[in-house]
Every structure is written in C-alpha cells, then in structure tokens.
Amino acid sequence: MPATFSPNARRGSRPRLIHSEPVILAFLGAGALLAGLVMAGFSALLSFWAGWREDGVMVQVGRRAFYASAVMIFLASVVLETALLTHDFSLAYVTEHTDLSTPTALVAAAFYGGQEGSLLYWALLLGVLGSASLVASATLGRRLAAYAAGVMASILSFFLVVLVLVASPFDILAITPPDGLGLNPVLRDGGMLIHPPVVLAGFASFAIPFSFAAAALLAGRSDAAWIAHTRRFALMAWGLQSAGLVLGMWWAYHVLGWGGYWGWDPVENVALMPWLATTAYLHSSQVQERRGRLQAWNFGLVMVAFLLVVFGTFIVRSGVVPSVHTFAVSAIGPWFFAFLLLCAVFSAGLLTLRAGGLASVGEPAPVVSREGALVLQNLLLMGVIAIVLWGTILPLVSGMLGQERVVGVDYYQRAAGPLFLVILTVMAAGPLLPWRHAGAPFLRAMRWPLAAALVVLAGLLSGGVRSVPALVAMPLVTAVGATCIFEYGRPLAKVWRARRTRAGRITGAGWARASNLFVKNRRRYGAYLAHLGLVVLVAGVAASHFWQQEKDVALQPGQSVFIAGYTLTYVGAEERQLADHSELVAAMRLGGRTLEPARATYAGLGGQSLTHVAITSSPVADVYVVLAGIGTDGSASFRIFINPLVSWIWTGGAILILGVLAGNLGERRPAVQLAAASLRRTVPAA
C-alpha cells in the first residue's frame, strides 16, 4: 500500500507537481471505503438494536447511517473512475485493466470490469438501491423497517470488509509503469460496456427482497406487506437478470465465433439459477398477495434465490469448478464461501424458528386452478434449478469423492429439456385458469392454444419433421404464444361485440375502454407481454437447437459452397491495418451481399488473434461464417453455420424487458395499500 510507493520511479515526462495527486486519490478512495464500512457496520448494529427496542429515533438514525455508507461508496466509485480516466497507472487496478490505447468507453467500463472494481460496483448498487428501498419503508412498521435496514447493512458490511481488507481497488504499485496491461481483445467489444453491469445489477438488487423477507421473519410478520414493498425491486432484479442473460448470449454469439450462444458452462449456469428462482418467486408471490397462501414457500424462495446469487459469485470468483472461463484464483473465494455459509445458516435458522407462525389460512389450492398452475410451475422451476445445480457442482462433489467428473451439454439438454417442455405446457394453460378452481369456461378458452398447437404440429409433420422433441416443443411454444394473444384478445373481443350490438356506432369510446382496461391492469398485461417475449425467445432457442446446420469447407477464390439453400462464394482475401490490430479479411459473396469474416491479430498483446465472425441476420435464419484460416495455396477454410430463428432470441428478450417496464411504469397506488387491501379481501377471519 502507500508505504511501498516510490515517487522516484515515476515516469519522467509527467510534471513533478502532479506526483502526489494519485496518492491522494488512492487515500481518498481507500478512506471512503473504510468510512463506508464503519457506517454500514454502525447501521447494522444500531438498526437491529433499535428495531428490537422499537425506538423510532434510533431506527431513523440507523437508516441514515446506511445512506451515509452509500454516499461513501459513491465517493469511492467516483475516485476509481477518475483514476481510470486519467490513466493513473500508479494504481494496480488501473494498470491491470487498461492501457493508453484502450478506447475511453472501455476505460470507463473497466470500473466494473475487474475483480475489485466489480465488487465496488456491486456495493454501490446495493447502497443506492438499498437506500431507495429504505426511504419509504417506515410504513411497514418500525420493527420490520429497522430489521430490513439491519440485514441490508450487514450484507453491505460484508462487501466493504472484502473491499477494504482483501480486494481493494486502491492498492498502489511499487513502481508506476508507463503503460497498463490493457484489456483482453475478446473483451474489447460493445458488449463489455453493457453485459457485466446489467448482470451484476440483477444480482445486487435481489439483496433487497431478501433483506425485507428476512426482516419480516425476524419481526414475526407473515403478511404480504414485505412482498408488496419489494415487488418492484424483485421485478427490477428479474428484468436485469433476464437482460443480463440475453446480453451474455448475444455477446457470446457475436464475439466468440462458435456458432452458439449458450454452452451450459458453470459461469452461465450460476447466472441462470438465480433467474429461475426469481422467476418462481415472482409467480408464487402473487398467490400470497391474492390468496394469502404460500407464506413459508415465498420466504424460502427469496432466500434460495439470494443464496444462489451468493453461490454464483463464489463459484465465479473462486475457480473451484472447471470452466472455459478462467477466473483469478483470488483471496476472496474463502470470504464468499464463509458469507454463503453464514447466509445459508441464517436463512435456514430463521425459517425453522418462524415456521410455526406461517401456517396458511384455509385449504390448499385445488390442483387445477390458477394458484395450482403457479405452484406446479414453481415445483418445476425448482426441479430445473436442482438439475443445473447438480451439473454445476458435480466436479466439486466427485472430486471430493474420487476422480473428478464433468457433465457436458448433453446432460443439461436431456435432464432439463423435458422439464422445460412441461413448464411450457403450464405456461400455455396457466393464464387461462381462473383462481380457486377451473370449470367449463377454462376448457372453452383452451381450444385456442390447442388449435394453434395442432396447426403447427400438422405443419411440421407435413414438412417432414420427425424429431419427437421438436414435434413436442414447437407446438407447445405456439400454444403459449396463442394463450398470450388470447389474453390480449379478450378485452378487444368485448369491444368488438359491443360494436356489433350498437351497429354503426363504433367509436372511440369502445376502443378507449379497451385501452383503459389495458392501462388499468398493466401489471397483468405487462406480465403477458413478458410471457410473449419469453415464448418468442424460446421459439428462437428451440429452432436453432433443432435445426442448426454446420459445414467446414476449404475454398479457392471463386469456388462456392452450398448449404441449406444458401450459396456462398469465396471472393478473396486481403490484409487490413487498423489502429490497434491488423485484420486478415476473407470476403464471401452471398446473393447481393458480401460477408467479411476475418481474423484480427493484436500485435501489442503478444500476437493474440481473434475471430471476427460475419453474420447476416434475417427473421428466418442467420448465416454465420467463421474464418478458420488461410492456407499457403491461397485457399481459405471456413466454418459456416445456418442458425434458424436466432434473431427471435434477441427480439424476444427485448419484448420481455418491454413487458417488465410496461407492467410497472407509473403505477400510482402505493404498493403497501394494495397489499393491505388484497389481504383484507382474502383473509377476512385472520
């Protein structure tokens, strides 16, 4: 740290006067982190104590200490960003993640691009979002609000302890190098700007539902107030996690050049599992809000989702599982493991102690009903999580017992695939099911998705498709889509019928009523939009999984290759010199277009080379060309993929996010009132 700093070794070209500045920056950053830690620790202790005593003033003080901690973390973040943008290579973090040739946007992104910085970014989000969730928390009652602040401040303290003691982004190098090490070329991409922060934000924001759930349990409150209060944060976490997953797929697809977007790598798995758990929670929490049931299950789910987030971070940062991503085997692994154990023991203990008070009111849901479908969906999602978790930790478990074993993509497809199909079935039927129990209207409504599924099935069969998984998956996907559209059609059909009875007077009024209905029930219709987005995404995943075609060819200039109805002609190769790398481009003609797959070589990074994939995208299929190499005889070898419906994945992801936003923008009724009202409606005797 500062003691090892040697001013004599600094670069001569800089004016002497500035020499002390970085030290000040580093001290300022480290100092802010330390102050943040003190504040967070103080907030945690005080909040628990004040909550227990129900001391209003102290509860307030505890909350403000949390805000103060957030401000300190913000200050530290500003310092780190300043150091990055001013190329202050006296900081180890700046040297290890940037160099003078790195574009400015990527230099700025290095803030969350490295181990230490990403932890700081996480703490920053937790501080800011946590503060936002605490601002209006007083309505939940002193005790619950105080405990929530306490739990959140404890989590924040953990991150700050790690940042201060083990992984400080403000460590100073003994000798200031003239230039940094730079960023790996694979990461020099626009995706780098957006994917990591979104994923991390999705992870960090889920600490908020967890904190309020734990606080409700600590305070002995089993009503749905905590769910209503944190609903938006849970949705935000889910939306961010969804966006993070889709962006990660997009990045992998466009940059890595293996023709796919999902490889069931441990790093992908640990991001998928919290998403699955959050998805389950968003659905089951409705059952509690509407019907006053599943209290214990919801507490459990929130805790599982949070534990999976921590578990994922542990796996990714510790390198305990073999992955194509290598992660620095760093000192923070044991810390996260300890934190994971602590959270698990805390959650399990809390649930066990309070389980007695969580008995549900009345009879459980009938199996065939809306709540039944939601519970079934939850069980199935838990099943998928179990499968993915097992595949992820198998190397760890088998390594402890003897020879280390790993499972490949096959395992996940064969084990999770069938469950995904059942989930699709539930997704097709669930929204059409009424609460409490189903009757004839449900069966009538089911004819639309059923008809759509049968049409697609017939189409596939007549098209010569004989693969059973495809014959099951594609009709189911269609059925889910039909259900969503049917749900949108209902209010429109009402308007249509109204028009028919008052013939000739159709008017704005009817349409206004319909649109009013959509706006008033935007939470519901936003959810259906998200369903629709997901099903468009799943259609893309299924189609590219079942019908991807692949061909390796070596071509002389002028020669053509024919694949899946596309004819590609190799034109010739040329060498191009760009700012920080050179490119060997092999042009291919496809119809009127020219594809330019290339291999880039970064001279500055030990001659590391990188594929630049050429993709032409259409709603039907992507033509994806990778240049494998150019032979001495002038021939070029390519790997060509035809990936059907891949563009649907990105479109579906966008629709899904739109649904999350549409369902939540401008909702006026305070969430807590809503919950209280629904509770009064559903549990009159309680």
Binding site: T95, E96, N184, M192, G383, V406, G408, A415, S637
Partner: protein, 128 residues
C-alpha cells in the same frame, strides 16, 4: 386435507421425475476430467476431458482445419489430433481442455478443444 394430499403427490412426482432425469442424463454423458499424467496412467476407454498446456509443435494442415499438437501437464505429454476450428486464443503456452478419447495409437483424438477463456477477472498481476 385431500388437496394437501394431492399436492404432496404432485411434489413427490416432480421430485421423482427430476431424480430420474438427473440419473439417466448424467449416466450417459458425464466424463472424467483428467490430467495428462492420469490419462497416461489409467488409459480410460471412454470419453474424457484432458487439460494441459499447448506445446510449440503445433502442426496445421488442410487450411488450418486439421491440427496436431502436444499437450503437457508438467509431468507427462500426449499428442492431440483434432479436426475443426480452434478457439481464438489457441497458441503455444495456453491451457486447453481437449474432449475426446485416447486411441490405441496413443494419440488423443479430440472431438472438441476448449481454451481456457481469459476473463475480465483474470488479467495477470503486474510484475516488474
């Protein structure tokens, strides 16, 4: 009471299905993850994954689509034969994981070669 019972059954059925799926899927497709020395010592008959460092003797033919190289884990070496596109960062000195089986000829025939992808979390610490 009847509804609780039904739900209990649903839960058991889902759990049983998951258990069966995990069992049946992992039986067929799990592979051993071995080092080159372990590969040499045990000569496993099925598919395995072997991790090791690529040596400088990389030979490419057929326009780069056919590759032969030696993998070394520090104590033992094995010759790897692979047909297909290699990861971008493939070059002597990096660690790769070859997926495939050891042939009777003593050459490891890889179906797939994965490179350890350099990650944003793993730049080598600056040392000078």
């Amino acid at each position: 009471m009847i509804a609780s019972l039904k739900w209990g059954m649903v839960g058991v059925v889902v759990a049983a299905c998951v258990g069966y799926l995990v069992y049946s899927a992992s039986g067929g497709s799990s592979e051993y993850y071995v080092t080159v020395s372990e590969l040499r010592a045990h000569r496993p008959s099925g598919d395995v994954r072997v991790a090791g460092v690529v040596q400088t003797d990389v030979q490419r033919s057929e326009g780069g689509l056919h590759v032969r190289f030696t993998e070394n884990d520090g104590t033992a070496v094995v010759l790897v034969d692979y047909r297909g596109t290699l990861p971008d960062i493939f070059r002597p000195g990096i660690t790769v994981v070859a997926e495939g089986r050891l042939g009777a000829d003593g050459v490891f025939h890889a179906r797939n070669v994965l490179a350890k992808c350099p990650s944003r979390f793993s730049t080598a610490p600056y040392t000078q």
